[in-house]
Every structure is written in structure tokens, then in C-alpha cells.
């Protein structure tokens, strides 16, 4: 059984779930930073608030002062808020978002996969050795072909479908500019029916899966382990149980897992329902 962290231990973690991705560090850092700003404002104003209530209560101050507060305190506080917000925006949020959401690694440098959401399950597809996905047509989707792949397309011959609700990625150490890191993962997200949302808290990742669109996300896992993949967008009565296990494996384990799927499938695209 998993050790269950106590309230205090969790508080020490900033009440955040365990982190397992690279950009997640920045996310956590950024969240912390904003909360410091918020705390400063809150404590400052709340202190002032309590003090004025006490000092200016009717019994202590029976005659109100027509002019009230003078001086620049309030203005300065406002200007400070503006400046800090501007810094957070320009210095952090915009560039970090650009990096995390837009600057994709090249396909060849990454583990590329597709994840398809449906009521109420998740399924992944790996491109196989050739690194190319087979052609897919939504209208071919049926019981035998849950993801609608064109059987005749040779590129699809070595593709592999994961079983529903069981998605694996490998953790492959690499060096980028002499720095030790891991191979990033690119996932093309889509949905067959309604809008779902792909959320892996450990990766600090959320992205809606929208039918009729394929939206790519990328992140770099940094830890092996089993993580929860949850659906964060209301998608019907099974929304609360639309989970999947998102497993980050060592390269060997991943290969083993993938090979198992491939042999079972006889090399052809196959689902495991």
C-alpha cells in the first residue's frame, strides 16, 4: 500500500502532487511566486483592515473625519500591484507558456504518440518502428477498429494501439547541450465524441481533447512511476471514472510492454477490448 502523506507533509510540498516533469518545476515555481504576491497583499491589507476597524470603531472615534485618509499609501500599493503583475506576465507567464506549449521538439528527438479520448476511456496509439502513423479516417471507426485506421495504409502496419486506459511512455535519458535530461514526449490529442480533458497532475499538464481537432502537447517526464491520467472536462455521466493509468517505464520495460502488445496483435493495428 502506498504511504499516505500526512496533512503536514503535504503542506510542506505546497499541497501539490508529486512532480514528474521538467516544465512542472517552472509551473510550481510560478504558482509559488504568485501566491507570495497574494499573501503579501492579503496580509498587508488585512492587517490594515483589522487595525482600522479597531481604531475607528464608533465608540473609540465618535466623530468621523470628513477627509479621511491622506497620503500616497494606497496609490503606491496600487502601482506596486501593477508592476508585479506586469513582471509576472512578461517575465514568466508568456515566455514559459511559449516554451511549454509552442516550442515543440523535433519528432525524431521525441517519443511521439496519439491519445484518443472517448466516453469514458483513453487509448493511445504508437507509430511503431517506422515512426509514421497510418492513415486514419473518423468514419471508419467501428467496433473492430476503434480508432478508425485505414487497413490498407502500409504506414499503419506496424502501429500499435494500447489497451484502453493503459498508457505507457519510456523514460529515456538523453543529453541536450551537455545537460542530462530525458527524451520529451509529444502527444497528439483528440476525441471521438465530446470534449474531454487530458490531465496528468504529476506532469502539470492539462489539455482539452476536442473532437474534430488534433491538438499536440509535449512534456518531458523525469521520473518512472504510475501516474493518474484524469479527465478534467465534464463529459457525461461517466466523467468521474474516466481514468487511465499513465505509466512512465524504464526503456527496457517499455520495450517489453510494447513488444507484448505487438506480438499479441500479430503486427497489425489491434485493440484490446
Amino acid at each position: 500500500m502506498q504511504p499516505n502523506p500526512s496533512f503536514l507533509e503535504q503542506l510542506k510540498q505546497g499541497f501539490m502532487p508529486i512532480l514528474a516533469s521538467e516544465h512542472g518545476k517552472d509551473v510550481d515555481h510560478f504558482i509559488l511566486l504568485i501566491h507570495w504576491l497574494m499573501a503579501a497583499l492579503f496580509v498587508g491589507w488585512f492587517g490594515y483592515f483589522c487595525y482600522s476597524l479597531l481604531r475607528f470603531r464608533a465608540s473609540a472615534n465618535p466623530k468621523a473625519d470628513y477627509t479621511g485618509a491622506k497620503g500616497k499609501l494606497a496609490n503606491n500599493a496600487e502601482i506596486a500591484v501593477v508592476i508585479v503583475e506586469a513582471i509576472l506576465l512578461v517575465g514568466f507567464a508568456i515566455p514559459l507558456w511559449a516554451k511549454a506549449v509552442e516550442k515543440f521538439p523535433a519528432d525524431k528527438d521525441a517519443t511521439v504518440m496519439r491519445v484518443i479520448a472517448e466516453q469514458f476511456s483513453w487509448q493511445a496509439r504508437y507509430p511503431g518502428k517506422d515512426g509514421v502513423f497510418g492513415k486514419q479516417e473518423m468514419k471508419l471507426i467501428g467496433e473492430k477498429n476503434p480508432l478508425g485506421y485505414v487497413e490498407a495504409d502500409p504506414a499503419g502496419k506496424d502501429d500499435v494501439n494500447s489497451p484502453p486506459k493503459d498508457i505507457h511512455v519510456p523514460l529515456i535519458p538523453i543529453k541536450v547541450d551537455g545537460r542530462d535530461t530525458f527524451k520529451p514526449v509529444i502527444i497528439h490529442l483528440t476525441s471521438k465524441d465530446v470534449i474531454h480533458s487530458f490531465k496528468i497532475t504529476a506532469m502539470r499538464m492539462t489539455q482539452d481533447c476536442i473532437p474534430g481537432m488534433s491538438i499536440p502537447v509535449h512534456f518531458t517526464p523525469t521520473k518512472v512511476g504510475k501516474f493518474t491520467l484524469t479527465c478534467a472536462q465534464l463529459c457525461g455521466n461517466g466523467h468521474a471514472s474516466m481514468n487511465a493509468m499513465f505509466t512512465v517505464d524504464t526503456p527496457e520495460e517499455f520495450e517489453k510492454w510494447l513488444a507484448e502488445k505487438t506480438t499479441k496483435a500479430g503486427g497489425a493495428p489491434q485493440s484490446f477490448e
Binding site: V101, F104, V150, T190, P216
Partner: protein, 128 residues
């Protein structure tokens, strides 16, 4: 939001802006001519638009631009003359300006949002 400051109006100081000269019979007679003329322009504009459809302008963008231009001119005449917008009050301009601003925001930002990557449409399964 429109707010013209009516500071100068102390209590009870009414001042009539002489609204009547617009409404005198002579003035109305004159505007009637204007109305008929605008009616003519609107008919003409419609004929022009339809003619353009049969003429076949080679560029799509051009077709759209010209059609919308004619429509806007017609609309301007309706609003300006029939709806007396050309000599309406500041207050109304303010309200309409806000409206137009928000409308442009709605259309413009929505269209922009739909065309900013990394979103991609799924055409036969291949993310473009």
C-alpha cells in the same frame, strides 16, 4: 459607457436645444426629397450587387470586399438618413460606438483565436 457631463445644469435650469427647426414643415418637405433619393440609391445598390454576381469578378477576396462594401454603403444610408443618425445626439453615438467596438472584438478575437496555432484540424486523421 457614455457619460457627458452636464455639470452646468444647476437645479431647475432647463435649456431647450431648439429641437424644433428640424421638425418644421419646410424642413420635413426637404427631407422627404432626401428620403426618396436614398430609396433610389438603395435600389441602385441592390441592382449593382446582383449585377456583380453575374459579372464574375476573378478574385474571391475582391468579390467579398465589393459585396460588403456596397452593403455597407447601403447600410450607412439607411442608418444615416432613414434612421436620422446623421444628426442624432452624442449619447446615441456613444452607445453605438461601444456596441460596434465590442462587436468587432467578438468577431475579430474569435476568428483570431481559431487561427492561432498549435491547434490543428484533423483532416483524414493527419494533423496538418
Amino acid at each position: 459607457m457614455s457619460h457627458d457631463h452636464s455639470h452646468s445644469h444647476g437645479p431647475g435650469q432647463a435649456c431647450d436645444h431648439g429641437h424644433d427647426d428640424h421638425n418644421s414643415p419646410e424642413a420635413i418637405q426637404r427631407t422627404i426629397k432626401k428620403y426618396l433619393m436614398v430609396g433610389g440609391i438603395l435600389f441602385g445598390g441592390t441592382v449593382l450587387t446582383v449585377a456583380m454576381y453575374y459579372v464574375h469578378i476573378p478574385s474571391v477576396a475582391m468579390t467579398i470586399a465589393v459585396a460588403l462594401l456596397i452593403a455597407s454603403v447601403k447600410a450607412a444610408f439607411v442608418a444615416g438618413v432613414f434612421m436620422h443618425l446623421s444628426d442624432e445626439r452624442k449619447m446615441i453615438y456613444g452607445i453605438l460606438l461601444c456596441t460596434v467596438f465590442f462587436l468587432i472584438g467578438l468577431m475579430g478575437l474569435t476568428i483570431w483565436a481559431m487561427h492561432d496555432p498549435p491547434m490543428q484540424t484533423l483532416i483524414d486523421g493527419k494533423p496538418a
